[in-house]
Amino acid sequence: MSQGVGHDPTLRRPAHAREVALVDLIDRLLDGGVVIHGDITLAVADVDLLYVGLRALVASVNTIEEKMGVRLSAHSAVLDNDRLDVDAFGSDSFGSDSLGADAFDADALDSDALDSDPFRPDAPRR
């Protein structure tokens, strides 16, 4: 793994593999990792927008699923407001804050947003 584990070409292939990796990246960076007390520099509104983008990505990917033979799901712990289940270290050992999940309603996503670039939605920032 001399060239960086995150860019292993056999695992991060272009096209759909990259999109799966992106969904997993968002899952991990926003719902995993060490959580510390104190101010979060990231605006929660921006997280909501990011998830709007994720939904849009998955919606747009629906159309190419059949061609690629891969289905994507964005139903992460954050989106569904479920807790992360951990079965080796005990669930109490791992935090799973649902950052901004309450404020985000997937059903509110209108069709215009689905047509935009997934990660730069045109929705106005709050």
Partner: protein, 223 residues
């Protein structure tokens, strides 16, 4: 007014040879085998766009290359160096135990994506005039299939792993699990995923990674 944006907790005193968020220079603070890698950022909200996520990830992956790392959640910052030193001191035992758990291992994400829509069959079973019953049957069927697939793939994969963390999916019946895998087992693990993908005809099984161990970090000490 600036804050310290923190990327990860590491056992290495060296700054990784990459740049941080918005190409900021990286610094390292800590002592006694426990260090935090950070960069100075303006104390104002920034865009959580794809570029920023990969910039955070780039630093954590570089840390993984040179040692053991507990990644921070994206967007984590402390006011100043004093606060960072306090964090490292207060949670030293927590972090040291966490580093020990993930030493020599990486995280691999596995998704089982079920093919075919059981919801299309359900109306025939329940009768078209009973949509509520049809919905419940569809959900039950999805959950049963999901559970069957989860059990089938979990056994051979956990045998090659130190631990797993399952992210429940409530709508689609898909399986989404993170595995903590020793570096030397990554090859056999991936080969097993490919074998499972070939063997299970009603699901596509894919893996991503290796990732830093985002799903295997200690939680807040207060919880």
């Amino acid at each position: 007014m600036t804050v310290l944006y923190v990327y990860g907790i590491s056992d290495s005193p060296n700054a990784p040879p990459v740049l941080g968020l918005r190409d900021a220079a990286l610094s390292v603070s800590g002592r006694g085998g426990l260090f935090a890698v950070w960069s100075e950022q303006e104390d104002s909200p920034f865009d959580a766009d794809e570029t920023a996520l990969w910039e955070h990830e780039r630093v954590v992956e570089a840390l993984l290359e040179q040692g053991t790392v507990l990644p921070m959640r994206f967007g984590s910052s402390v006011p100043d160096r004093e606060a960072l030193a306090e964090l490292l001191a207060e949670r030293r035992a927590d972090f040291e135990l966490g580093l020990e758990r993930v030493r020599g291992a990486v995280e691999i994400g596995v998704r089982a994506l079920i093919r075919g829509e059981s919801s299309q069959l359900a109306p025939a079973l329940a009768g078209a005039d009973r949509p509520g019953t049809a919905y419940m049957l569809a959900r039950l069927n999805d959950e049963k299939r999901s559970a069957a697939i989860a059990a089938h793939i979990h056994e051979p994969l956990i045998a090659l792993s130190r631990a797993s963390a399952s992210r429940k999916t409530s709508l689609s019946g898909d399986v989404n699990t993170a595995y903590l895998v020793a570096r030397e087992d990554v090859g056999p693990f991936r080969a097993t995923v490919e074998k499972l993908d070939d063997a299970v005809e009603y699901a596509t099984i894919v893996c991503t990674g290796p990732w830093p161990p985002y799903s295997f970090t200690p939680g807040e000490s207060t919880r």
